[in-house]
Amino acid sequence: MNIYRSHVLICGGTGCTSSGSNKIHEEFDKLLAEKGLENEVKVVQTGCFGLCALGPIVVVYPEGAFYSLVKVEDVSEIVEEHLLKGRIVDRLLYREDEKSNEVKPLNEVTFYKKQMRIALRNCGVINPEDINEAIGVDAYQALGKVLTEMTPEQVIETILDSGLRGRGGAGFPTGLKWKFAAASKNDQKYVCCNADEGDPGAFMDRSVLEGDPHTVIEAMAIAGYAIGANQGYIYIRAEYPIAVRRLQIAIDQAKEYGLLGKGIFGTNFDFNLEIRLGAGAFVCGEETALMNSIEGNRGEPRPRPPFPAVKGLFAKPTILNNVETYANIPVIINKGVDWFKGIGTEKSKGTKVFALGGKIQNTGLVEVPMGTTLREIVEEIGGGCPNGKKFKAAQTGGPSGGCIPASLIDTEIDYDSLMSIGSMMGSGGLIVMDEDNCMVDIAKFFLEFTVDESCGKCVPCRVGTKRLLEMLEKITSGKATMEDLDKLEELCYVIKESALCGLGQTAPNPVLSTLQYFKDEYVAHVKDKVCPAGVCKALVNYHIDPEKCKGCSLCSRKCPANAITGEIKSPFVIDTDKCLKCGVCMEACKFDAIYKK
C-alpha cells in the first residue's frame, strides 16, 4: 500500500460544502497533479469539523495545520508553500483571537479543548466514502467482538451497565429498550434508526451520518444481534442529500465486504439494512409516526401502549434509536463500560453533541461531556455572543424544550438538570439569545413551528396550539390583558395533558418556560404596551434624538413611506402614523440619532 507523506483533509460537511469546499477539493487535485505530488500527498474529503462558521476548513497533516475560511484562490499557495516547500501558510491559519494573532495547536484551541469527541470521533478524520479508512479507525471491530465473543444477553447487559441513554430526546436507557425487545418472542423483529432530525437548527445527526456512516451501520447490526433482528431501516429526511448518498455508499461497501448480509464474520448471524426517506415532517420523528411512515402509511402517531418493543414496525417487536445513540455503541463495546461510565454525571453518562446556533460567535457542532456547564459551552467553546452583547438565555430541546436564563448559566447540563429547570435535553439544538431577543417573540417563533407541523390528528394539538399562537400574537401586538396571560398558562397545561403524542404534549414548553423566567417581559407587553427588547413591531416606534440629529436628511431620503421630514441642518422628525417600522432609517443614520422605543 502506498504511504503518503502528507494528508490534506477537506471538510465535506454540509456547512463547508455550501461555502464551496468541493471547488477547493477539485483545485487541490488539479494542482497536486500538476506538481507531480499526487502520490505523496493524499487529499481526503471528511465530515464536519464543527467550526462551520469558519468554513471551508482544510487541515494538513502531519503538521496539523488548521486552515479556515479557505478560498479557491488560496489553494495554490497551500500547494506551493506548504506541500511543496514545507512552509505553513500563516495567514490562513485559524486564530481564535483576532487581536493576539496567536496560533495554537488544535487541541489547545478553546473551541476544542473542552470538547470530548465520542460520537463525532471520526468526523473530520476519515473519508466517509471509503470503508477502508473507517476500518483503519476500528470500524466493525466491535461487531466482530460481539458476534464472536459475546452472547446477545451479554451485549444487552453491557449497554445497560454503561448507562447510555437515548440521545434523540427523552433520554430513555438504551439497554432497557433493547432488553424489552429481546424479551418479546417473535420470528421477525426490526432495528430502526431515527435520522429524521426535525428540530429547527439541529444538525448533529446529519453530521454523524455525513462524517462517519459506518458507525451507525455497525451499531445497528450489534443491536440486531442483541435483540434477535436481521433487518434494519434507517429513516432519514430526503432534505439531507449528502448524508443519504454517503449512507448508501457505506451500506453498499459494507455489503461488498461481507459486513452486512448473510453469515457475518463466518457466524450464522445475518443482517440487512435499508434506507427509507422521509419527507421532512417534524411529527415523523415521533416513534409511532415514523414507523407508520416506513410502512408506507401517513406519518401520524398512534397511541401507546403497545410500545414498539412489543408491537412496532409491521406489528413486530422493534427498537428505534437515534443516530447519535448508535454512534456511541461501538466505542462502548471497544473501550469498555468502565471507561464510558467514567465520563459524565451520576445519571447521565458519556457526552452530548450540541448544534450551537443563534447569537453565538462559533456557530457549529460541539461535543462535550455531560455535566459541562452552559457557561463553558456558551462563553468558552462558543466564544460568547457576537458584538459584545449580553447573553440572555439559551433554548435547548427546540420546539419541545425550554429556555435557560442567564441566571442559571452555571447549570451543569445533563438530562435531569435540564428537566428540573423546565427545559429538556432534546436532540441537541442549542440556540443562544442575547439582549436584543424578545422572549415572547421567541415563544411565538416555536409555536409557529408547531402549528405548522401539527399533524392534525388530535384536537388539543391541532386547535390548541393555534389558539396559543393567537394569544401570543395578541400579546405581541399590545392588545392583551392580564387575564389573557392567565388563560395562556391554563391552556398550556390543558394541551400538555391531553395531546396524543409528544409533539402536542411538549408544544407549550417554550411558552411555559419563558413565562417562568421572563414573566416581566410578558407583563411589559401587556400592561405597559412596550417590548423591552424592541423586537415586537406593533409596540415599538422609531424616534429621532434631536440632540444627536445633524439634519443631514439622509434618513428622509431613504424612508420608503416619506415619514421623515425636516429642514437641512436642524433636527428631523418621524411621523409615527406614517412610519412602516421598516428600520431603514436607523441603519442609514451615520450619527446613531435614530432609536426604537
Binding site: 511543496l84 516547500k85 512552509r87 476500518i135 458476534l147 461481507g258
Partner: protein, 123 residues
Amino acid sequence: MKSLAELQQLRDQISQQVVLRKDREDGIRVVVGMATCGIAAGARPVMSAFLNEVSKRKLSDVTVTQTGCIGMCRLEPIVEIYMPGEEKVTYVKMNEEKVARIVAEHIINKKPVAEYTVGAVQE
C-alpha cells in the same frame, strides 16, 4: 471478509496511514529539504525512498515531511531526523542508497550513521 482476524489485519494495515492525522508530539520526524536547490539536487527521490522504507517496514511512528531551504545549498539534498529526546541529526548529500542505511541503523536501531552527517562530510 470472512473472519474477524481478516478485518484486524486490514485495520492494522490502514491505521498506519490514518495515524498521520493524529496530533502528536512523540514519534520520529524525517524532514527533507525541498526548496528549489534541494529538488534540483535530487531531494525528491530521497523523499520517495524514505516513504517506501517507512511503508515497507510498517514504521507507524515515523512521519516524513518536507521543509524549505535549510541554508547549505551546496550540501543538498539534506535530511534532518528528529527523535524524541534526542538532538537533531542532519544528513547531507543524500541519495537513495544512504536512505536504506539510515532507516535501518538510525531510525530502527537508534544509532546515527556518523559518516553521512553534516559534521563528517564538511571536514
